[in-house]
Amino acid sequence: MDLDNSQAVQLYEKMLLIRRFEEQSGRLYMQGKINGFLHLYIGEEAIAVGAISSLRDDDYIITHYRDHGHALARGVHPNLIMAELMGKVTGTSGGKGGSMHIFDVSKGFMGGHAIVGGQMPLAAGLALAIKYRGEDRAVLCVFGDGAVNEGSFHETMNLASLWKLPIIFLLENNLYGMGTHIERTRAGGKDIYLNADAYKIPAAQIDGMDVVAVRDSFTEALERIRAGEGPVFLEAMTYRFVGHSLQDPQSYRESAEVDQWRIRDPIDTFREASFVDGLLDDGQITRIGERVDAAISEAIAFAEQSDEPGPEALFENVEG
């Protein structure tokens, strides 16, 4: 792998942070400490980490409701995300957004958005603003395979290409829109990247279980985007190891299918490959695990000790 030691540490640590964060979130949900809907990113970590590690700090990120992974990869503090999940006043949105609506504008993290495909037109607008100001920033627009049959997907692809907007469209294709397989919802089948050709957007299908492959594809795509040549479309093939949300009984898929994908666990495979390549040793792997566990424990303690928003918060920020 074309990485140095510190890059390997960063990629591994971020992926592990997301995995542990999500596992603990699931546990807290079962305990009733997190409510509403909770959509976990377990199995898809390589995409967020590979993609976001290639961005600049001044690029925008906008994503869907399965958003903890992207926020953590961007460096939004785990304490603030965990507090938001618990509905606390110290959360990213003071407890008024919840799991599906994580925002940290100071980090260019323009939100988790919970209407399927709804973030895509907004991404066009963020990119339009960049172009209007003559900047060379980029917008990362993340969406799932469930979004590609929405009008907002097609309208945005057309406008982005027509106006050469600086957007990298990142499709996380985990094969299921909630519980319905892509082959049952899309006339063109699972190779969605082919659709980008209809809009004259350069596209590729990439291995979403390989953090380095994602990162390399992004580096190349961003060069084109920053040169003002318009959007790029990347379809990362991946899989949710867990249900759509914590309410999902997973009656629609066989456990053998899940097991097949788990063999390709993006964190395990990266750790093993890094070990073989001499990029990570046992001591580092242990220390990273300890750091991640400490960060998650701290996030949980921070969230649990934080206050609920007071009644005065109810009407705050309805309007300016």
């Binding site: 957004g97 037109p121 990119a127 339009l128 907002s152 309208e155 300016g320």
Partner: protein, 325 residues
């Protein structure tokens, strides 16, 4: 001071904003080369160029959504949606996104944008092109809704809309573009949530907005001949709603009729009527009267369509029926 049309007043507001604020740009279907479906943006493309006067595909969802995104990034987009009927294609962007982002991000995001759109019926355009849907948007926290009835208000409210830090639906009635009125050369702006007493009177209050104001004024002229002195109130903005001006008038006249071109069921007039009875019940000499659009899709035939829209005679007869005056 000069007399101009409502259309010219809106154009003046747009031109002024483009001249004074680099963050302002316009987007919409046929606003540039075509010069605007209702000619409001006539000449702007030549003056400001394609970067600031953006012709878009017929793609209302992404047009409004891109405006939301640009506003999130600190610009101040003004979108033209050809008619409010087409705004339904962007309902998700308006209601689920523009109206929610400030709250869901706890103030990290602002969405300062204006959606100019054309509302109302009476032009024989049939059921899909003749609706008055501004009241739907007025029920959504996070949105503001303005609906001017004359050139002075159109310019004053548009200035406030463009300066506002939140999304504003700016509803221009298709039948009012040719209405003329005096507009001062000196700068002024009209704050949202301030209704205007268009005609003072002691006997009955007529509450209206947009084209309904003209219908109410017509009724007031008929009533005057009958010796009934009507007060006409123009709400000017539906959200925020100026309850104080309405209630003060009702407390004076003790009689009130709410005029609304939208359908009676769930129309904005229902909200106004409810607000009045909740707050001024003891001042009322009779029930709050309503004159509203009939419960039918707008028919194409001109006579049928006119019969489904509020007119002055309905206001006069409703007053007779309820109050015997």
């Amino acid at each position: 001071m000069g007399e101009i049309t409502l259309r010219d007043a809106v154009t003046r507001g747009l031109t002024e904003a483009l001249d004074t604020d680099e963050r302002v740009f316009l987007m919409g279907e046929d606003i540039g080369s075509y010069q605007g479906p209702y000619a409001v943006t006539k000449g702007l493309l030549e003056k400001y160029g394609h970067e600031r006067i953006k012709d878009t595909p017929i793609s209302e969802g992404v047009v409004v959504g891109a405006a939301v995104g640009a506003a999130m990034a600190g610009l101040r987009p003004i979108v033209e949606i050809m008619t409010i009927n087409f705004l339904l294609l962007a309902m998700d962007m308006v209601v689920n996104h523009a109206a929610k982002l400030r709250y869901m991000s706890n103030g990290q995001i602002q969405v300062p944008m204006v959606i100019r759109t054309v509302t109302g019926g009476g032009a024989q355009l049939g059921a899909t092109h003749s609706q008055s849907l501004e009241g739907w948007f007025a029920s959504v926290p996070g949105l503001k809704v303005a609906a001017p009835s004359d050139p002075y208000d159109a310019l004053g409210l548009l200035r406030t809309a463009i300066a506002d830090e939140d999304p504003v639906i700016f509803a221009e009635h298709a039948r009012l573009y040719q209405v003329r009125g005096d507009v001062p050369d000196d700068y002024y702006a009209i704050p949202f949530g301030q209704a205007k007493v268009k005609r003072a009177g002691d006997d009955v209050t007529l509450v209206a907005y947009s084209r309904g104001v003209h219908t109410a004024l017509e009724a007031a002229a008929i009533l005057e001949k009958k010796g009934v002195d009507a007060e006409v109130i123009d709400l000017r903005t539906l959200r925020p709603l100026d309850t104080a001006t309405v209630l003060a008038s009702v407390e004076k006249t003790n009689r009130v009729i709410v005029v609304d071109e939208a359908w009676r069921s769930g129309g904005f007039g229902a909200e106004v009527a409810s607000m009045i009875q909740e707050n001024a019940f003891d001042s009322l000499d009779g029930p709050v009267g309503r004159v509203a659009g009939l419960e039918v899709p707008a028919p194409y035939n001109g006579t049928l369509e006119a019969s489904a829209l509020p007119d002055a005679s309905q206001i006069v007869s409703t007053i007779e029926d309820i109050f015997g005056i």
